[in-house]
Point group: C2
Chain length 137, copies 2
């Protein structure tokens, strides 16, 4: 089996999880980091991971490379079949959830490309669309 | 002046705003879309934009190209100096906030590159780091 987990500073992972649920209907586990008055997120995350059999693939998505959350997660990479991707956005999550790719490493590499392709300056798209319109005349 | 606004499905923009505030201390306005029992987000967003003088640059970040929120925002592009970027992630926001680039279009293009560069498969980094370690021996 394959599992996706979101984590990041404050409530970014919760926010992305709500958008995933709104758009796709999937409930993805998330771990808000450094929330006042709450138990250490990395402890809760480790407990969650321990629920999965070692042969299961786990993909952890975090918010930013070099940030303390991603640094914490780098320490989890000694777990077999654990994959860590930073810089998460909604196109990445959508790809990881919807793709039928069975090879998890391939899935992740394709998902990262989809995530990058999904970041666009929409003013360029509008200009391009307008030029297409002009082409009809 | 230059303003950044976040919007997206459910609470994704709120989540990213909390991470920005945690990491950088900046409070960025956000508009949660399609929240039950709440006023139409695009109406509130339009009111927010109307507070800014027309010569001010506004950068709207959304969650996903082709999603209904980004489609709604495409209609805002008739406002002069309004820039729309989809596929937002934390590296994008951090770049847009911290960069000293004065030209907004340049800032956005650099920010998009930073956002893409910020999406990484960290297992590759770990392998690379281990190989660097070996290089010392």
């Amino acid at each position: 089996m394959r599992h996706i987990i979101l984590t990041g500073h404050s409530r970014i992972s919760e926010g992305i999880a709500t958008a995933i649920e709104f758009v796709l209907g999937n409930k993805i586990p998330y771990f808000n980091a450094y929330m006042e008055g709450e138990e250490l997120y990395s402890k809760k995350l480790r407990e969650k991971i321990s629920e999965y059999p070692p042969q299961d693939d786990i993909i952890i998505l975090t918010d930013i490379l070099g940030g303390s959350v991603n640094n914490d997660m780098m320490k989890f990479l000694d777990r077999p079949n654990l994959h860590l991707v930073c810089g998460m956005n909604l196109p990445l999550a959508v790809h990881l959830i919807l793709s039928e790719e069975e090879n998890t490493e391939q899935l992740i590499r394709q998902g990262i490309q989809a995530a990058k392709d999904g970041i666009q300056y929409c003013n360029d798209i509008q200009v391009s669309a307008n030029m297409d319109d002009l082409g009809d005349f």
